[in-house]
């Protein structure tokens, strides 16, 4: 009371909360941010994999710093990383196991939660078969947990229908690499962005999505003033603004452009015949195929001028070292995997691979999407092994001390097919781990049908409620970044150490502990995880499993990773010797046709809908909406529309509009009229559950990678009115 009066009168200005102190390491700073100990770790947002130091005071994370000694980020962080400590004690954290009883989620003990989970899943599996359990994992766990989970699902529960949300993100890159090179694994390094003469970024808005990579371009510019950055993107992104040349390509014109460049380089002799001869197969067929991609034809498909196409081709062809980076503009497509092979083609025919500055390079999404690619048991066997190869299965069976017949001979369903199977009643129990499909999966209505069709839905997440956990029968509260120990692998194959900073809130447990407890209840703990107590035990087994493989973890210890700012498996770059892990030892050149995207605009749905990110937010905002500063910076989504279309539709800036597709409608979104987007196209950020872009996106999937085509569908824009029609 007295304090309130003193505050109302202004005698008390909370001065004590606003004092400054001298931090011995980082100098003058708000006293509330002075740490008494620092924990070295790796950022848990995107796959750039920045090294960071988290300051802890009284067992609470109070500040975050970029680790100045970490080779990835050299002390810099993006706004999400700089405020990451705020997510640990956010009010939205899941703290208690919750079980749906009489329609309501009520707190239960861990024992009850896990017992019920095992019971329900057993009932489903007994009645409908083992594969009636579908498990969707994530790119958010530590590698050791992915490794543990894989064994639990495939060997413990015995279900093959296991995939990760990484299928929504980089599956096309994985498939493309496998097709061309015989294995997954991004061949290059971030350092290549500093030394390349030409950097071609295709569908990659790194300034918004991977901002800490931008300093590489800046350094390149300083060291190599003649270098050229070319950004291929239908939208004038922040990254396009950084480019020397922006190619405002028509959506899905990228394959035509890549083939067209290949054709010009072959025609005019700017290719490395020696490299092609020694290290590739299928060149003659490829050369004949791309001959159709004349500048004239490519100009027609891409909307770029012939001159631009020729100029770009020569820049790329004449570069001493050329780098191609890409992200979701390429991957989020029904032709994603094919586009990746087209990128690889270009690198191969010019010999731009396996050398400093020269690589085709996918920039990944989640902090440990790469770790799941290496160690999880989803689209491949752990350690980049193949289900189909008896040798690979036997290898694992020997290490695991099990009968090789227990290891499946083919992968189960991919993510979208698990969802479809749930709708069709073939998958009857779903377990989602650290992912939020209600916002992130395309075509919301089908997804929700799946969630409502299954007999039992488990959502294991660090946050509750999330749009997905609200559908759950069982919510398992999990620890998140900052509460777990293990490793993350970033886009450049760098394995970095992740350390716990604080203990999980309430009764939340690490995903690892949850997996072991489930194994215990299933009666497989001793068999699958003999003597395991911590993720370090998982790491030690994973080292043996990966030994001698491309992603060989036996070469370093946790301590070394922590001390040395991580280590890149495969070294600075892969394929320096030109030997590829294919049957012939050579990389394959593919003839990739350029097809129009699936849902073309017509009279009724006259605009092409594109989605993407904004720097302030992360994926479906379960984390960043909890960081007040970030949420305050960008509190809502918007729809970008070109002034020409706005004039045609008689719309004004800040009008509230609906985005209507054949599937559903995003209602009441703010209109931004801007030259950032091309006439005929609209764009919106996909982070917001409140205006969920996936209400309208298309449920079309890449036939090879199963990645959804998030990027293009046909919509029309209507003025929002409050009356419901």
């Amino acid at each position: 009371m007295w304090t309130r009066i003193r505050r109302a009168l202004g005698i008390d200005t909370r001065q004590s909360e606003y004092t400054f102190e001298h931090d011995p390491r980082f100098g003058h700073i708000a006293a509330t941010r002075v740490a008494d100990r620092w924990v070295k770790t790796t950022c848990g947002y995107c796959s750039v994999g920045c090294g960071m130091l988290v300051g802890v005071k009284d067992n609470k994370a109070v500040t975050v710093r970029g680790n100045p000694d970490h080779p990835v980020n050299r002390g810099k962080l993006c706004p999400k990383g700089l405020s990451e400590h705020h997510i640990l004690d956010a009010p939205g954290r899941a703290k208690l196991p919750l079980l749906r009883k009489n329609g309501k989620l009520v707190p239960v003990s861990w024992d009850e939660a896990l017992t019920v989970m095992i019971e329900k899943i057993s009932v489903v599996q007994r009645r409908y078969g083992n594969d009636a359990l579908g498990v969707i994992s994530t790119g958010q766990l530590v590698t050791e947990e992915f490794y543990t989970l894989g064994k639990l699902v495939q060997l413990g529960f015995g279900s093959r229908n296991y995939d990760g949300n990484t299928t929504l993100c980089m599956a096309s890159a994985v498939s493309g690499y496998k097709l061309t090179f015989g294995s997954d694994g991004p061949p290059g390094s971030y350092a290549d962005m500093e030394t390349a003469d030409v950097i071609l970024l295709i569908g990659a808005n790194i300034a918004d999505n991977h901002p800490i990579l931008c300093q590489r371009l800046e350094r390149n510019r300083i060291n190599n003033p003649d270098s050229t950055v070319i950004v291929v993107d239908p939208r004038v992104t922040k990254t396009a603004m950084m480019a020397d040349i922006h190619l405002p390509i028509k959506p899905r014109g990228d394959i035509a452009l890549l083939n067209g460049i290949a054709h010009l380089l072959i025609r005019d002799g700017h290719i490395d015949r020696d490299y092609i001869e020694r290290h590739t197969t299928g060149f003659e067929e490829f050369a004949a195929f791309v001959a159709e991609f004349t500048p004239e034809h490519v100009a027609q498909v891409t909307g770029l001028s012939e001159e631009t196409i020729i100029n770009t081709a020569y820049l790329y062809g004449k570069a001493k070292a050329a780098f191609i980076g890409w992200t979701m503009g390429v991957n989020h497509s029904t032709q994603g995997a094919a586009t990746v092979t087209a990128i690889n083609n270009l690198s191969l025919i010019t010999g731009n691979i396996g050398r400093a500055g020269a690589a085709p390079f996918s920039i990944t999404g989640q902090c440990n999407a790469m770790g799941s690619r290496e160690s999880s048991f989803t689209s491949a066997l752990p350690g980049y092994r193949k289900f189909e190869k008896p040798q690979d299965r036997e290898d694992l069976a020997r290490i695991w001390n099990i009968d090789a017949n227990r290891i499946p001979t083919a992968r189960g369903l991919a993510y979208p097919d698990i969802i479809e199977a749930a709708v069709n009643g073939k998958v009857k129990a779903l377990w989602f781990i650290a992912t939020n499909p209600v916002v992130s999966f395309p075509n919301y209505s089908v997804l929700v049908q799946a969630l409502e069709s299954v007999d039992f839905l488990v959502v294991q997440d660090g946050f509750h409620p999330t749009p997905t956990s609200e559908f759950a029968h069982l919510v398992l509260p999990a620890a998140i970044w900052g509460e777990k120990e293990g490793t993350y692998t970033n886009s450049e194959r760098r394995v970095s150490k992740v350390n716990p900073v604080v203990v999980p809130p309430g009764e939340a447990r690490t995903d690892f502990d949850i997996f072991l407890a489930l194994a215990e209840k299933l009666g497989v703990r001793e068999e699958l995880y003999p003597g395991w107590q911590s993720t370090h035990d998982a790491f030690r087994e994973w080292q043996r499993v990966s030994e001698g493989r491309m992603c060989d973890y036996s070469k370093f210890t946790w301590q070394q990773l922590e001390d040395e700012g991580g280590a890149q498996w495969g070294g600075d770059r892969l394929y320096a010797d030109g030997v590829f892990p294919t049957a012939t030892g050579k990389a394959a050149l593919y003839s990739v046709p350029c097809l129009p995207f699936v849902e073309q605009p017509n009279e009724e749905y006259d605009l092409i809908f594109n989605t993407g990110r904004t720097v302030e937010h992360w994926h479906t905002r379960t984390k960043t909406a909890e960081v007040k500063m970030l949420d305050n910076m960008v509190p809502n989504a918007w729809l970008e529309m070109n002034p020409i279309d706005a004039a045609r539709l008689e719309l004004r800036p800040h009008d509230r509009v609906n985005v209507v597709s054949r599937r559903s409608t995003v209602r009441d979104i703010e209109l931004r009229i801007t030259g950032i987007v091309a006439p005929g196209q609209v764009f919106m950020p996909f982070h917001f559950a409140e205006t969920n872009s996936n209400l309208v996106t298309l449920g079309a999937f890449d036939p090879i990678s199963r990645e959804p085509n998030f990027k293009q569908c046909a919509v029309r824009i209507e003025k929002f009115s409050r009356t419901i029609t």
């Binding site: 005698i11 200005t13 100098g27 962080l77 931008c214 720097v615 950032i676």
Partner: protein, 531 residues
């Protein structure tokens, strides 16, 4: 005077300073020296120099790390951003250009915040030129918020005081770069030295699209713009203008005190300065002054506001209204004593005291109006503001004495007061309110028309705000009511006229506060993070 920073820099090699990086953070015993290109000056300031920000627009990628780093550095709440990032764009697809501004305080040569502060909470640091603000001295009057053309100072309601970017003074003096400089992945922000005399002559490098003209306060921030660009870059946040704070305590304080001044003027002119009227006016004055205190974030320190009367209009207003209260109190007492025949004063002397009170009231009203004549708030910075303040006094003052006399009449019929013969006898002309209303409406009309037709975006935006669904009815009422106040006395309905006049002035004053659009840097499309 030398700073540790400079000593450190001087002892190091030119163009760069040596930093320590700890290979093992557990044991800071094994430092590894790494030389980094410095983003802070490597020499000490000489006489006639100060620090400034340099922002390189060509490097900024709009990642907003600086904003977060600033908030973390200063422990500020999420909605207060001492460093803000804005967006500007132009051109036609695909030749669209978009750029970003990242701005803290511009540490101006002629900082208006410093000049306007009534309590001397601001200092322009004599060594570094940094504009420093003291939360201890601040009383939360927010006059600096109104004065700054960049909307840099921000009021922290939780604390009751203002705060702003101090270029991380405490870090600079320690040889460390400010938090924003430190966080920028693109090295787009740096601290450099500027010769103040030379900058005063040529500050063209401070100008940028999306920034208010630098000349008014002579911003020291140097901005590197993209080369050879002919594209016109424009703000993207202009459709997101929100009404400003209504400052209701100020709405009532100004209305009441202007009413008293006007009433007293007419009472003296028409022989109405009688005991009960004066007593009621005195009561209203003390209510008004008490209300005004609650505009402050720190009401307990209101008395400090008079400190800077030599340069701050706010101090002068407080001082003059304080004196006005003394004068009207003295006049009231004198009239009462005279009426009770306890003392006998010569009529000219008594009148002199009364006219002195009127003069102080008018002077206070003018000082009050001058507070709002700030270039940073163009819709206030018009002759219409002082005219409105004076005319509002006349509009209400032309009927209020009659109404108060009626109230006094009711009082004087109380048995207790009957022996004192307090009945009012004055009569006021019926045409006077009409005249005042015509003048008042004319002033408001001309103001609206001028705002509408102004070449300044902020003026037009203010007019547009008043034309929004929420405010349009208020505008209409603010014109209908004074017309009523002018017409009603013609049929003798003075009390209703008073009510209409007071309501008119309160509504107009409310509009005055909420519809002003301050000068500001360009913000982002969502205006997120902005205050």
């Amino acid at each position: 005077m030398s700073l540790p920073l400079q000593e450190l820099a001087e002892s190091a090699t030119a163009e760069s300073i040596v930093r320590m990086a700890f290979a093992d953070l557990g044991q800071p015993s094994a430092p590894v020296a790494t030389v980094v290109t410095s983003l802070i000056p490597s020499r000490s300031l000489e006489a006639g120099e100060q620090y400034r920000f340099h922002f390189d627009m060509t490097k900024c990628i709009g990642c907003r790390s600086c904003e977060i780093a600033c908030n973390e550095q200063n422990g500020n709440p999420a909605d207060i951003h001492w460093r803000r990032v804005g967006e500007i764009e132009g051109g036609t697809y695909p030749n669209t250009l978009r750029h970003y501004l990242s701005m803290g305080c511009n540490h101006c040569l002629d900082a208006e915040c410093v000049k306007g502060c009534p309590v001397d909470a601001y200092t322009k640091d004599p060594v570094t030129g940094i504009v420093l603000h003291s939360a201890t001295a601040c009383i939360g009057c927010q006059y600096c918020v109104w004065n700054c053309p960049y909307s840099v100072p921000q009021f922290n309601a939780e604390r009751g005081v203002v705060g702003k970017c101090d270029m991380c003074h405490g870090r600079l003096t320690d040889g460390r770069e400010p938090a924003c400089v430190n966080s920028c992945p693109e090295a787009a922000i740096e601290i450099e030295i500027v010769n103040t005399a030379a900058w005063r002559v040529d500050y063209a490098a401070a100008e940028s699209p999306g920034m208010p003209a630098a000349g008014h306060t002579i911003s020291t921030t140097r901005i590197t713009l993209p080369l050879n660009s002919t594209t016109q870059l424009e703000r993207v946040d202009t459709g997101r203008i929100q009404p400003e704070h209504a400052h209701l305590s100020l709405v009532f304080m100004t209305t009441l005190i202007q009413s008293v001044t006007g009433s007293l003027l007419f009472a003296l002119l028409f022989d109405g300065a009688q005991p009960m009227l004066l007593a009621l006016l005195l009561v209203i004055t003390s209510i008004a002054l008490n209300i005004s205190v609650f505009h402050l974030g720190r009401p307990a320190y209101a008395w400090r506001a008079m400190k800077m009367w030599r340069r701050s209009w706010l101090s002068r207003e407080v001082l003059l209204f304080g004196l006005f209260f003394c004068a009207i109190a003295a006049f009231t007492f004198a009239v009462w004593l005279q009426h009770l025949r306890l003392i006998v004063l010569a009529p000219p002397l008594l009148a002199a005291i009364g006219w002195m009170a009127v003069a102080l009231g008018i002077a206070g009203t003018i000082a009050s109006a001058y507070i709002y004549l700030v270039p940073a708030r163009p819709a206030w910075n018009m002759a219409h503001t002082p005219i409105d303040f004076l005319l509002s006094g006349l509009l209400i003052g032309s009927t209020l004495p009659v109404t108060l006399d009626r109230i006094a009449g009711a009082f004087s019929r109380l048995a207790l007061l009957q022996p004192f013969h307090l009945q009012a006898t004055a009569t006021y002309p019926h045409w006077l309110p009409g005249l005042a209303a015509v003048a008042w409406i004319a002033n408001q009309t001309v103001r609206l028309v001028r705002l509408n037709r102004s070449s300044l975006f902020e003026d037009r935006a203010a007019a547009a705000l008043m034309n929004t669904q929420d405010l349009r009815p208020v505008v209409i009422a603010s014109f209908a009511l004074p017309a009523a106040a002018g017409l009603l006395p013609l049929c003798g309905a003075f009390t209703f006229a008073t009510l209409a006049a007071v309501a008119a002035v309160i509504l107009a004053r409310y509009l005055f506060f909420v519809s002003v659009v301050p000068l500001n840097m360009a913000l982002t499309f969502t205006r997120g993070g902005a205050h």
